[in-house]
Amino acid sequence: MKKVSAIIKPYMVEDVKNALKEIGVNGLTKSNVEGFGKQGGHKEIYRSKEYCVQFVVKAKIEVIVQDEMVDKVINVIIKTTRSGEIGDGKIFVYPVERVIRIRTGEEGEKAI
């Protein structure tokens, strides 16, 4: 099993969730993060002073899926969120060793 973790623009979250749901993903976890990257340099103005806000508000989406789903998930995320502009975000894939559903104690595939 793998964890597909995507750092995306916050307003894409609903769309991604819906798209993933369609391909059969039944669970995901979202968190609010701030990213520093190429996109760096968005400006905010406070009291006429321009702030180079280097951390940009992003959302992190984590989906644990079976190995064979990984490519599908990646493709769906890319398709949904790609605008071609800097700051679209990145996808990371991590190995996952075990998955357990607390409610039932089920492990592995059944628990996803």
Binding site: K9, Y11, E14, H42, K43, E44, I45, Y46, V53, V57
Partner: protein, 458 residues
């Protein structure tokens, strides 16, 4: 910028033109007006002029009205907080700014020509002349036409606060998608060609609804029906938010909304009781009616929602209180406390169902301006025709079928005028400048896209 200039000019010219065309008849008009207001069952303001022969500033009345003006001022930031709490986080500043900036724009418009258009010497029963532009002749002595115990400028600024609040109310309908620049243009034009005439009709000496005997103590027609109806026009022109009905768009901070409601309620005492223009029994009566109306509508909305949806929500209670305040506004100076309770209950219930009904029509009235202000104002205007009693306000009238008809007619006229003019106005502004932000900007949020700021950085 050229386009802005053009549009603004157009409006000014039409108004001036109308003023000039009517100029010749004015002398005659004036007399007519005097006669009219003597015979007609005129509102609140007349009461004083009977009491006090020679207008002299009364410290008690002036103290009261000064504070009332301050209270009504506070309602606009109160509204900013009320609305701000209900939108999504990314739009809080954009939403609050639409209210707050009215404190700048309308203030200037009002002293330059707005007050004159609304309350200046009557022209054809439909508009004030421009004679009082730049507050020319609006001095520190009382103007007995409006109130003989407070400085004329105080009456002017009290009314200014109403003019600031009213267009700000509309913004709830098109929240989260309006371009700031276009909003400023809309603000100026709407005030000029919708609010000022309407205020004149209802409150201005010589205004036709006033002459007709239509009762609107503190702005059911001018403030709430006008803003509610214009909100409807705005929704139709601008369309729904991106993702409407697909995404959930819950309020991002209900504590802010509670705070906003508190400030609105607090300010509403100035709004309604202050509309007595003096610190006497009438003000006390309006104060009581206002509070009772708010309290009972709060309960009405909360209980009906509890019954139908299973939970008594806080936003429901807040919305109910607001609906009650709206509904009691036109009636506040004409009804007993017990009548106020019934008006409040009616306001709470009807608005509740109106808000639910909208859902089915598919309109995206983001923060329910139509359902609360439009419908609530209408309920109040009509019920005034039933519950009004001269025991409370001798300058008012007694509820009767005749009065009800006048109220209905006045409401209808206000609805028709506001809707049509707002609709055309918005269409024009849309053509010239575009009402909506870009899709991408809407996604990003108004705060960053329109103002280059974030609401919070926790």
């Amino acid at each position: 910028m050229k386009k802005v200039f053009f549009a603004v000019m157009f409006c000014f010219i039409s108004l001036f033109a109308f003023n000039i065309v009517q100029a010749e008849d004015t002398a005659v008009m004036q007399e007519e007006v005097v006669l009219a207001s003597d015979s007609a069952p005129a509102v609140a303001v007349v009461e004083e002029s009977i009491e006090a022969e020679t207008p002299k500033v009364d410290t008690g009345d002036t103290a009261f009205m000064l504070i009332c003006a301050a209270l009504v001022m506070l309602m606009t930031p109160g509204l900013a907080l009320f609305y701000g709490g209900m939108v999504r986080r990314k739009n809080i500043l954009g939403t609050m700014m639409q209210s707050f900036v009215a404190l700048g724009i309308i203030t200037i418009v009002w002293i330059v020509y707005g007050y004159s258009l609304a309350f200046g010497p009557d022209v054809g029963h439909v508009i004030g002349s421009l004679k009082w532009s730049f507050l020319n002749g609006v001095g520190l002595d009382p103007n007995p036409d409006y109130s003989s115990t407070i400085p004329h400028q105080l009456f002017m600024i009290f009314q200014m606060m109403f003019a600031i609040l009213t267009p700000a109310l509309i913004t709830g309908a098109f929240a989260e998608r309006f371009k700031f620049k276009s909003y400023l243009i809309f603000l100026v034009l709407w005030l000029t060609i919708v609010y000022c005439p309407l205020a004149h009709w209802v409150w201005g000496v010589g205004g036709w609804i006033r002459n007709l005997g239509g009762l609107d103590f503190a702005g059911g027609l001018v403030v709430h029906i006008a803003s509610g109806t214009s909100a409807l026009a705005a929704i139709l022109v601008i369309g729904t938010r991106r993702g409407y009905k697909r995404e959930s768009m819950p309020p991002h901070s209900l504590p802010l909304t509670l705070l906003g409601t508190a400030l609105l309620w607090f300010g509403w005492f100035g709004f309604n009781a202050g509309s007595a223009l003096s610190a006497g029994s009438l003000a006390a009566s309006a104060f009581v009616a206002t509070h009772v109306g708010a309290g009972s509508a709060l309960l009405a909305w909360m209980f009906v929602e509890w019954l139908l949806k299973g939970k008594p929500t806080m936003l429901g209670a807040l919305s109910g209180a607001l609906a009650g305040l709206v509904a009691i506004t036109p009636a506040s100076g004409f009804v007993t406390p017990i009548s106020a309770m019934f008006i409040g209950i009616a306001g709470g219930l009807v608005c509740y169902f109106a808000v639910n009904f909208k859902e089915k029509l598919g309109y995206d009235d983001s923060l329910d301006v139509v359902g609360v202000h439009g419908v609530g104002g209408l309920v109040g205007a009509l019920l005034t025709g039933i519950f009004a009693t001269t025991l409370v306000n001798s300058a008012g009238a007694d509820g009767s079928f005749a009065l009800l008809k006048i109220q209905a007619l006045s409401a209808l006229a206000s609805i028709g005028y506001s809707f049509i003019v707002s609709f055309i106005l918005l269409k024009i502004v849309d053509k010239l400048f575009g009402l909506r932000v870009e899709d991408k900007e809407e996604l990003q949020g108004l705060d960053l896209s329109q103002h280059g700021e974030s609401g919070y950085r926790f």
